[in-house]
């Protein structure tokens, strides 16, 4: 689909981001508003900023795609993404703010006063950040491809260049306002088209069989298959084929396919008639690409669901770009209130993507075949409403999607670049934050060009798993257990996070293809998180002499409300 409005919409979003970032400072010229200008960020504004930074491409496009392909089981994704903040609220938010730490390495240093643990935490921040940036860039590539037919890598490159230009040029003078603006933009970009889509759906007689198996085409539809895939037919089916099926070349001929598997070469066009069943796509055969984890979860659904729940519930607190935003809250209580508001805002947002997924199953079922399921939210307005209105709504969604890439990518880039300049790159007087920015973006950009299509929501899930198995034990034990020692923390992060990282690597490499081991490696959180906790506890207990001096004072600072602290000191 080509849209003349999408490119201006994306350009407009980028421009607005730059403007808000550069001029969004509070300005006062008279005495009376001096006080207002120097007022700290309230919980609601900060919550919008956190939500804006957090709602990434995986939320904006990925969830709709997953629901489209897999059905309502996938609702665990938005539930998990939201519930992570509940865990954060209960165990981490206020003590983390009171620790005075800006980044996770800062927290490690404040709690354990160890440079080695600080560096290790820094390495994991960079690893998680890169793993999380990768799908953002890929999502951007997908969006641009859908709208303009540009090559896959171009969208990622555009986002990378825009983010690096904004951040390195010092354009993010006030990131809170930018991110809060992005949240409301994203909400609008999904909400307004969703309302029109629901009206169109009502006008269509409100069909309700969205998740009845199998999905069927509602009108004649030409599907172009971009990967080499295998489809499985339950009943014989007659389609018009232009391309290669089962090794035989057909040129626009109607042929009858028997029930069973059929091999379709990439570039083939299939024309289905109205009422035809949408063939199921066999997983594990998509050329060199790893199959979507969501597809392979079918083998062990219970295990996969628990793995997902654990990773998202516990992984949120370790996301580098989320943690730094809590520093903006003026005190621990405000940090808690902020988290409550975040729960509300994110919960409201996550009502929308499943709507797109369900409608996509009705009106664009062929996306499961062509492998572009993530594009469902982008295509639906044009498909269901059509005309200029549909194109405008599509452009709005595209702008929102671009805002999602920009906000998450810029937040991650700043977090990763901060760690790189502080702890990795050599310091020469003035630290090279710009160099760090370029380096922080270059690696995932190169990876996204090399790797190609890893499903967006999966890559994000893997980043969550690594974060849950390395930072969650560090934060929870660091805040609540006074016997944690630097060797224990280092060992726990290395064993938990390292094993999760290896599992991620094995999964991305496509090894092993199936079986119990594949499920274990594809959903590592269920074993790697307890492993991380256990290692941290056991090694800490084995090195009781290494409990840092002053632990009691540090923990008191974490847990005592600020007013009390002032009184004690006075």
């Amino acid at each position: 689909m080509n849209s003349s409005y999408a490119v201006p919409a994306v350009a407009l979003v980028a421009l607005a981001t730059v403007l808000v970032g550069a001029f969004g400072l509070r300005i006062s010229r008279t005495t009376s508003d001096f006080y207002v200008a120097s007022r700290t960020v309230g919980p609601r504004l900060n919550a919008a900023a956190i939500s804006g930074e957090y709602l990434s491409a995986a939320s904006f496009l990925g969830i709709a795609g997953l629901v489209l392909v897999q059905g309502p089981d996938m609702l665990w994704y938005p539930v998990g993404y939201t519930a992570g903040y509940l865990v954060l609220l209960l165990f981490v938010a206020a003590p983390l703010r009171r620790s005075g730490a800006y980044t996770l390495p800062d927290f490690a240093e404040a709690r354990l006063s160890s440079q080695a643990v600080r560096r290790l935490a820094g390495a994991f921040v960079v690893g998680t950040g890169w793993l999380y940036l990768l799908p953002q860039l890929q999502g951007a590539g997908l969006t641009l491809t859908v709208f303009t037919g540009a090559p896959d890598w171009l969208g990622g490159l555009v986002v990378a260049v825009v983010v690096v230009a904004i951040v390195a040029a010092g354009g993010m003078r006030s990131i809170t306002f930018v991110q809060a603006f992005q949240y409301w933009l994203k909400l609008t970009a999904l909400l307004v088209p969703a309302l029109f889509l629901i009206l169109a759906w009502q006008g269509d007689g409100a069909p309700r069989h969205a998740f009845d198996e199998p999905a069927a085409f509602r009108e004649q539809r030409v599907v172009r298959v971009d990967d080499t895939i295998t489809i499985r037919l339950r009943d014989p089916l007659t389609v018009t084929v232009d391309g290669t099926v089962d090794g035989r070349v057909h040129e626009d001929r109607r042929i009858r396919l028997d029930a069973g598997p059929h091999h379709i070469k990439n570039g083939t066009r299939l024309t289905f008639a109205r009422g035809d069943e949408v063939p199921a796509r066999d997983h594990g055969t998509g050329g060199g690409l790893s199959p979507s984890l969501a597809e392979s979860r079918g083998e062990r659904p219970l295990y996969a669901t628990y793995g997902l729940i654990l990773a998202t519930f516990l992984g949120t607190m370790g996301l580098p770009h989320v943690v730094v935003r809590f520093y903006t809250s003026p005190h621990g209580v405000a940090a808690r209130r902020t988290t409550v508001a975040v729960l509300g805002l994110i919960g409201a947002f996550y009502l929308l993507p499943p709507v797109y997924g369900a409608l996509g199953r009705l009106y664009a079922p062929e996306l499961t075949l062509s492998g572009d399921a993530d594009a469902a939210a982008l295509l639906l307005p044009g498909r269901m409403i059509g005309g200029v209105g549909g194109e405008l709504l599509g452009a709005l969604v595209a702008g929102g999607a671009f805002a999602a890439f920009l906000s998450t990518a810029s937040g991650l880039t700043m977090a990763v670049a901060g760690v790189l300049t502080q702890d990795v790159l050599p310091s020469r007087g003035v630290r090279h934050f710009r160099l760090g920015t370029v380096f922080a973006m270059l690696v995932p950009l190169a990876a996204s060009v090399l790797v190609g299509g890893l499903p967006v929501a999966d890559a994000v899930g893997l980043a969550f798993a690594v974060s849950a198995s390395s930072f969650c034990p560090l934060l929870v034990l660091g805040i609540w257990w006074h016997r944690l020692t630097p060797p224990g923390a280092a060992a726990g992060m290395l064993v938990g996070g390292g094993s999760a990282l290896l599992a991620v690597a094995a999964t991305m490499a496509g090894f092993p293809k199936a079986g119990a081991l594949h499920a274990l490696l594809a959903w590592p959180a269920l074993w790697s998180v307890p492993l991380g906790f256990l290692t941290m506890i056991l090694v800490s207990l084995a090195t009781p002499g290494r409990v840092p001096p002053g632990t009691a004072a540090v923990l008191a600072r974490f847990h005592l409300p600020e007013e009390l602290r002032a009184e004690v000191k006075a």
Partner: protein, 406 residues
């Protein structure tokens, strides 16, 4: 295959990082094997071992320092067992014969009292215990005995007594250095306390005079100004904690400017641009207000006291810059000769005008390190722009108490 490539990259990157780190950690000076005669080689080896043992001892005679250095010291002496004690307890026992650990403190009572080294026989129940003699060498700092180094051997040996004495003196020197380090830290802390900026007496006199001038003509205004004055002095006289938050400091600047405005009226024009996310940053107490005071002074000087209508503009900007906050204070006043400014900051001259600047610069360097000093851009007649970079997190820097309610 691209998925495979990706997996490979993800797997290899941490390995590369770990290898890099290990390489950095284990990098040694080039092998000394073919360097010089065997005697020279032995000397190098000894010096190298001593170098490795030194850093932990610089933390003073603690259990952790003793644990880290004991193995090196033992290989330096070439004995089977080595023990470090302070005046009351055994800190570490490295090597064989751990069962003597309990017995050693009783034996040490004499040497610790006299400060003289001795060789003592050890009594042992097990007949094949290889540890029969203990050579005691006291560790002294400034003629006070702080602990002892005990080297154990199967038989009495004059060489060991001599060697233990020398090693003990070397350890004592390291402990003296540790002592010096501590005094230096205390000195810096005292300096920070002494540097803690005080508001100038002139400011108090001027403010009271301005308030007095309003008492009859505009009592309401006088009351407001008196309250501002009270708020400002309460902030600057408060005693708990050396650090405050940017928000509180800005409020103090607000009170200060209200008083200055009362005196200079419309001649002062202030613009404030704040990125609200940097307001919770902790910073040394009263380290921006002197900069604003400086800007007010320079700004009004530049316009000449005679032309009362001339206006002075002051801009205060606080913005977000990754892991730091950037605070810029500029005026369009008289400016300053850069060389004169350099001398003031170096502490060579102390004219009345520059004391605030050099004080703030000193404190920022003390707290955050030398790279966080003030950056000042100025020229005669061109105004002045002062940039301060404040890290959002610095170990040991915590604002005392809660921010003022929003």
């Amino acid at each position: 295959m691209s998925g495979f490539v990706a997996g490979l990259c993800v797997a290899i990157l941490p390995l590369l990082a770990a290898g890099f780190w290990l390489g950095r950690r284990t990098a040694r000076p080039q092998s000394l094997g073919d360097l010089g005669t065997p005697v020279e080689h032995a000397t190098f080896e000894t010096l190298h071992t001593a170098t490795l043992a030194a850093p932990p001892l610089r933390a003073g005679l603690t259990e952790e320092a003793a644990r880290k250095s004991a193995r090196r010291l033992r290989s330096l002496l070439g004995t089977d067992a080595l023990c470090l004690t302070d005046r009351t307890d055994v800190l570490v026992w490295d090597g064989i014969g751990q069962h003597h650990r309990t017995q050693i403190m009783e034996l040490l009572a004499g040497p610790l009292e006299s400060g003289r080294g001795e060789a003592l026989p050890l009594s042992c129940d097990s007949p094949d215990c290889p540890v029969r003699w203990a050579v005691v060498a006291p560790l002294t700092v400034d003629d006070r005995v702080h602990g002892a180094l005990v080297a154990c051997a199967p038989r009495e040996s004059a060489v060991l007594v001599r060697a233990a004495g020398e090693v003990a003196r070397w350890v004592s020197v390291q402990l003296e250095l540790a002592d010096l380090d501590q005094s230096r830290t205390r000195l810096i802390e005292a300096e920070i306390k002494a540097l803690r900026a005080q508001i100038s007496p002139h400011f108090i006199f001027n403010s009271l005079a301005v308030i007095a001038s309003f008492v009859r003509t505009d009592p309401e205004r006088a009351r407001e100004l008196l309250l501002e004055f009270a708020d400002f002095t309460r902030y600057s006289f408060r005693r708990h904690g050396d650090f405050t938050t940017l928000a509180d400091e800005l409020h103090a600047i607000d009170h200060y400017l209200a008083l200055v405005r009362a005196r200079f009226g419309d001649r002062l024009d202030v613009t404030l641009q704040i990125a609200p996310e940097v307001l919770p940053v902790a910073l040394p107490f009263l380290c921006l207000q002197p900069l604003v005071e400086n800007a007010v002074k320079h700004g009004l000087e530049g316009k000449g006291a005679s032309s009362a209508a001339a206006k002075c503009h002051i801009g205060i900007t606080a913005q977000d810059a990754g892991a730091e906050a950037l605070v810029v204070i500029e005026d369009d006043g008289a400016g300053m000769d850069p060389d004169a400014l350099r001398r003031i900051l170096a502490g060579e001259v102390s004219p009345s005008g520059g004391i605030g600047l050099s004080n703030v610069d000193d404190r920022l360097r003390q707290v955050y390190g030398d790279e966080y000093g003030l950056v000042i851009e100025t020229a005669p007649g061109a105004g002045m722009k002062i940039t301060a970079r404040l890290p959002k997190y610095q170990p040991g820097v915590h604002s005392a108490g809660r921010l003022t309610a929003p």
